[in-house]
């Protein structure tokens, strides 16, 4: 009922404001062409729901800002070839900040909180005691979401180690008659996070070696073992919703919907922001639960995390400094947390009561854990890894035996490392 009212109100507002919005935008446009107005230009990698959520975070300030949704091309915002002036960039990869620190302005003094250093020790750019990147959004990327009612109905329990998970998958296939997993293979980053979880939570030494860029790290036996575990799970008959080929062309939100809306699968490995998809598509909140990626004994506290950092381009304008100061406040992201969901604030002062039950638990686990930034965002071969995992999925779809597919994948990574300059 209430959602009905909201929706109608949205439409009425859109209908009423539409022409005005057009006019206002037109005026802003005129102002820009004539050089009178000068909005703060903020480049973000978000699109669709997340972009709308960030707009709500900006609130009244949105009028003085121009959002530039760059998607996967966010690298270009900081690159040498950036041809347009940006004031602020929301960077999804810490290494981008480190690589481009010369083009950035230091943060305003009062913005930095000492506990930010604990988020990724050594991962946040600083020079001469001044910081260059403000953590804004954190994401817990070691999550597997599942439908509570399905687990209850068949007496299933969340797995605590890898072999339990494999057994669970088989039981779901047999008892529930649906696929245990939904996978968004069209989004290479999602597959890469799955792989990163397997690696970090079983072979953490190798994970660290890869991040360090140790020579020959990709040729390690642990890497092959991790590929083998991944291929064995994905390659089990009927393991993937719609089959491996469907999984290959499905994007991350489709995989989430396959579990929570279409009920075609039982579980979906996806980061905390899957919650925004679940909420947008009206899944029942009390049917949503999650478990943390199973780990080898003793490796529990090490989690895969991602996040978005806000940086200012040099020379920075006072208006941009004001905006980043506003966004650093604990209450700033609350409209995103309550309105859209799937957001964990980097600022620890943000009141936990704003979160839903699931997100609060994830936020708390993230705080008490030992988070490692996602592998593919840190290593040179990150994009190669995504492609290799998609090829692995493709091989499984074509009927290749899992072990052979894993061998090919491991060899491809080792070869790519050897060929890299």
């Amino acid at each position: 009922m209430s959602s009905h009212v909201v929706r109608r109100r949205t439409i009425l507002r859109a209908a009423a404001l539409g022409p005005v919005g057009g006019l206002a935008a037109g005026c802003a446009e005129l102002a820009r062409v004539t050089g009178l107005g000068d909005p703060v230009r903020v480049a973000v990698s978000w699109s669709a729901t997340e972009l709308a959520a960030f707009q709500r975070v900006l609130g009244a300030r949105a009028d003085d800002c121009e959002l530039v949704p760059l998607g996967d091309d966010i690298d270009a915002a900081l690159g040498a070839n950036a041809t347009y002036r940006l004031d602020m960039v929301a960077v999804p990869r810490p290494k981008l900040v480190l690589a481009n620190v010369d083009r950035l302005a230091p943060l305003p003094d009062d913005v930095w909180k000492p506990d930010y250093d604990e988020i990724w020790p050594g991962g946040l750019a600083a020079r001469d005691g001044r910081h260059y990147a403000l953590p804004f959004k954190l994401a817990h990327a070691s999550v597997v979401w599942y439908r509570k009612s399905l687990f209850a109905e068949h007496g299933l329990r969340a797995p605590t180690n890898w072999s339990e998970w494999l057994d669970l998958n088989d039981r779901i296939t047999e008892q529930a008659g649906i696929a245990p997993l939904a996978l968004g293979g069209a989004d290479g980053w999602l597959l890469a996070q799955f792989f990163a979880n397997v690696l970090l939570r079983h072979f953490d030494g190798t994970y660290d070696a890869l991040v360090r860029g140790a020579p020959g790290a990709w040729a390690a036996g642990d890497v092959r073992a991790a590929f083998g575990m991944v291929a064995a799970m994905w390659g089990r008959p009927d393991a993937l919703s719609g089959g491996a080929e469907r999984a290959l062309v499905a994007q991350f939100p489709e995989a989430v919907l396959a579990v929570f809306h279409h009920h075609e699968a039982a579980m979906v490995p996806a980061p905390d922001f899957a919650e925004s998809v679940i909420r947008e598509f009206d899944a029942l909140d009390d049917d949503v639960d999650k478990f943390t990626f199973p780990a080898a004994p003793g490796l529990g506290p090490r989690l895969v995390a991602t996040g978005d950092l806000l940086v200012l381009t040099a020379p920075s304008r006072p208006a941009a400094g004001d905006l980043i100061r506003h966004l650093s406040g604990p209450e700033a992201p609350v409209p995103w947390i309550t309105g859209t969901g799937g957001f964990i604030a980097a600022n620890r002062k943000t009141d936990l009561s704003h979160y839903t039950q699931n997100l609060r638990e994830l936020a708390m686990e993230l705080r008490s854990s030992d988070p490692r930034f996602d592998l593919s965002d840190q290593v040179v071969l990150g994009d190669v890894l995504k492609r290799v995992l998609q090829d692995l999925l493709r091989a499984l779809a074509a009927g290749t035996a899992p072990a052979a597919a894993a061998d090919t994948a491991a060899r491809a990574m080792a070869d790519a490392e050897r060929a890299a300059p």
Partner: protein
């Protein structure tokens, strides 16, 4: 009608059957000042050619000059992309043959034809971005959402292999109407005249043929945004084309040489196509006109009806899908098909109106409007000079040059321009105008040359071109085509403006990153972005066709 005779030493004579196509006499000396009229066009052409030369320099600035070219030609990924571009030319050829056959058949069913034409020309006003989005919705592998999957079971249409059918049909949907309409106009103008190919005599479509062939083949080889939006990220290697591979090269590294070499290779192929094509544009009559009778047996007539009806249905479906999807609220559009009655509402329109729609609309308008004005203002004097003032040899050489520039892929000048331009709207307008000028000038020149005349061999003054009714269709045609082209543009803004100056197509693409679940907002944005060009085209297409074919408005 005129005929051409070539003597052995290359001298070309025209035998006037109706009237001559250009001034045979050398222009009088006092006409010299009028060449100044071509100055604005010249500036734009230079703006286009300098970065192209720069790209060539980048491509050749490697050890022994050809290092980059060798690199590209030995890179398996680039070769695969090249092969895919060749496949696209094949798709273009199939489309041309199909369009010709439909145009011939359409002459037999005049009543149905009128309706069919309106249906077929509609998608031509729709951007490649939008048509790619519609076909990705149609072929969604989830049978709860995808129309084709719901009808024919869960075949993974977007997977490797079958994705080519999706892309090919999206391309055909956009272009077939254009091909049919122009061929049909050409056939009508040349009724009763045929072409002999060995034993086969085919109805002749006249000089418009070369415009159609050139436009479609160049569009096929320049395919970019269609692939980008319709293909899931994991499948892109299966349909990677040269233009797309160029973009990956430029984003993956700071090396300028290899992408430049790739752009040069693409340009050489397209330019060769264009040279073959414009050879036809210079002429008014091909060598061997054969009188022929229209085949009009009952059997052919019956088949024409069936084919016409079939095409009519198939051609409407994507538009129905688009509008119906947009009329569902985002959650309903993201989880169910367009045919469901639950979840109807304006929520998807509200969602885009709340975020990016209005700035994008004004952005597109502020780019497309001025760019069109600039192109028309520069192209009309240039075409006037080419048709009536310049010496024949100089005009012929310039036509060849313009033909080559008209088809130059954006990748050929995007690199250096992107480095220089600030990505402001003004610079985008300028680039669009420069890119659009050669084609506009060629179309205008062809239309001026082919327009019905009063008197014999009379050269009008420039202001008569603007004033006189008989040249107006050509002006309308160029204005409409240029506006639609720039309005629907993705690649120029994307590669040169950078995503910061986001017109509609760019924001639509951002929205489509989470394609299936954003179906509602994507469709709503697509509907709004398509309304403007489609409406303009529907209102003006008769004049446009007349302008392109040099006919008077029927």
């Amino acid at each position: 009608m005129s005929m051409e005779v070539r003597t052995r030493d290359g001298l070309r004579l025209e035998v006037a059957g109706r009237e001559v196509t250009g001034g045979l006499r050398a222009p009088a000396g006092r006409d010299g000042w009028s060449y100044l009229l071509g100055l604005p066009a010249l500036v734009l052409v230079v703006l286009l050619m300098v970065p192209m030369a720069w790209t060539l320099v980048w491509a050749l600035s490697a050890p022994w000059g050809v290092g980059n070219l060798v690199d590209v030609l030995t890179d398996p990924d680039a070769l695969r992309a090249g092969w895919h571009s060749v496949l696209w030319v094949g798709i273009g050829l199939v489309l041309l043959v199909a369009g010709y056959v439909i145009a011939v058949l359409s002459r037999l069913v005049s009543g149905l034809w009128r309706v069919l034409l309106y249906l077929m020309i509609l998608p031509f006003g729709v951007s490649a971005m939008v048509s790619g989005a519609v076909f990705r919705m149609l072929f969604d592998p989830n049978s709860a959402r995808g129309t084709v999957s719901a009808l024919f079971g869960e075949v993974v249409w977007l997977g490797p292999g079958l994705i080519w059918w999706v892309l090919g049909s999206a391309f055909a949907w956009s272009w077939l109407g254009f091909v049919v309409v122009l061929f049909r106009a050409g056939l009508d103008a040349n009724a009763g005249v045929g072409h002999r190919f060995g034993r086969l005599v085919l109805p002749r479509a006249g000089p418009v043929t070369s415009i159609v062939v050139l436009t479609v083949l160049v569009a096929a080889i320049r395919v970019f945004d269609l692939v980008l939006i319709a293909t899931p990220g994991s499948i892109v290697p299966d349909v990677d084309v040269v233009g797309l591979h160029w973009w990956q090269l430029t984003t993956d590294s700071t090396d300028q040489g290899r992408p430049a070499a790739l752009a040069v290779l693409l340009f050489v192929v397209v330019a060769a196509l264009s040279l073959i094509g414009t050879r036809g544009m210079g002429r008014v009559t091909p060598p061997e006109p054969v009188p022929m009778k229209e085949p009009a047996s009952e059997r052919t007539r019956w088949w024409s009806w069936v084919i016409g009806l079939g095409i009519g249905l198939v051609w409407t479906l994507p538009l129905v899908v688009l509008v119906a999807t947009a009329l569902h609220d985002p959650p309903a559009a993201g989880t169910g098909g367009w045919w469901r009655l639950s979840g109807l509402g304006f929520g998807s329109f509200a969602a885009v109106a709340d975020t990016w729609l209005w700035p994008a609309l004004t952005g597109s308008l502020f780019i497309a409007g001025p760019a069109t004005l600039l192109v028309v203002a520069c192209a009309v004097p240039a075409a006037y000079l080419l048709t009536w003032r310049l010496p024949r040899r100089a005009a012929a050489a310039l036509i060849v040059l313009l033909g080559v520039l008209a088809v130059a892929p954006v990748q050929m000048y995007a690199g250096p321009l992107g480095d220089v331009f600030s990505g402001s709207k003004a610079s985008l307008v300028l680039v669009h105008a420069a890119a659009g000028l050669p084609f506009a000038t060629l179309v205008l020149r062809a239309a001026f040359a082919a327009a019905p005349r009063v008197g014999v061999d009379r050269r009008p003054a420039l202001d008569e071109v603007w004033r006189r009714g008989r040249y107006r269709p050509a002006l309308v045609a160029v204005t409409v085509l240029e506006f639609v082209l720039v309005w629907n543009d993705f690649i120029v803004s994307f590669l040169i403006g950078g995503p910061a100056d986001s017109p509609l197509a760019l924001l639509l693409w951002g929205e489509a990153r989470q394609f299936a679940t954003s179906a509602g907002p994507v469709a709503a944005g697509a509907v709004v972005s398509a309304i403007v060009p489609v409406a303009i085209l529907l209102v003006t297409w008769r004049t446009v066709v007349a302008g392109l074919t040099g006919e008077s408005v029927r």
